[in-house]
Symmetry: C2
Subunit: 136 residues, 2 copies
DNA sequence: GTCTTCACTCTCTTTCAGGTAAGTATAGAT
DNA sequence: ATCTATACTTACCTGAAAGAGAGTGAAGAC
């Protein structure tokens, strides 16, 4: 009994304030793409340090593989979040920086970031209480 | 040549404004836990509809399995984001609603949500341009 | 007696994100 | 000739996430 829970046929709006499901789906997709671990970290690194080269971002990000870094960066570039500048020299020199869109996203995430920072203690306390209650 | 990119030994702070890595790690963990797909969706559903029963949340969430819903809800309860009320009747009746902490998180995420909604077009345009440039 | 409801819980299987390691291209230095 | 630096690709592999589907328990309806 645990296949996906089916959505009700149609008329199931207790509250009238439901969002257009297509918008909801799009927003979810965007958030899903944008809110993954590495994207957020790269976003933060670039916000903090400005324009950086590939390897440098990797150093600041901490623990990311080249593969994931390339992948994340490409995705962000495709989404218009970062600008990639290739200098045609050898050895190659590629620099990345946030676009205005990227900066605005960083700003939006700032709230969450701050929330997390401000509420770590509360969450840890809640967890301890929960675990204690379960154990006892 | 793609093992994790090593962090530089120590003295590599071009910018002085680097955050305490321990705080950074904690924040990342919290965000990682809090910002997954289903948590965000459940958060939104509960924000929009107030107190709801298990199955109801599943219906609103769309496409979630019972297993994932249980798991997500438990995690959120543990983190102090939702309150779980069991009515000792048969068949069981369990209701979930956001705590103040949960509400404050929803509020913080509101910015991202709005950003996503406001910038879907820009992202899609960027993607189209990127793909076209690559193909042509 | 068995059927239904609800909120799970368990197990099995598949999917996939992400890690490792190696390869590529180029020019200048040794 | 070989080595180095840089920014990637590519191929392979593994562990964890998550989906499917069945099972559970208890009371009341039939």
């Amino acid at each position: 009994m645990s296949a996906p829970i089916p959505r009700p046929a149609e008329p199931r709006e207790t509250h009238p304030d439901t969002v257009d499901p297509r918008v909801e789906a799009l927003v979810n997709e965007v958030i899903g793409r944008v809110a993954d671990k590495w994207t957020m970290i790269v976003l933060e690194v670039l916000t903090e340090h400005g324009e950086l080269r590939f390897t440098r971002i990797g150093e600041f990000a901490g623990g990311i593989s080249q593969k994931m870094l390339t992948q994340t960066l490409r995705q962000m570039e495709r989404d218009g979040l970062v600008l990639r500048t290739v200098h045609p020299v050898i050895p190659p020199r590629v620099e990345y920086r946030l676009t205005d869109l990227g900066l605005s996203l960083a700003e939006a995430f700032c709230g969450v970031w701050q929330w997390a920072e401000a509420n770590i203690a509360r969450i840890e306390h809640a967890r301890a209480a929960f675990d204690a209650a379960k154990a006892g």
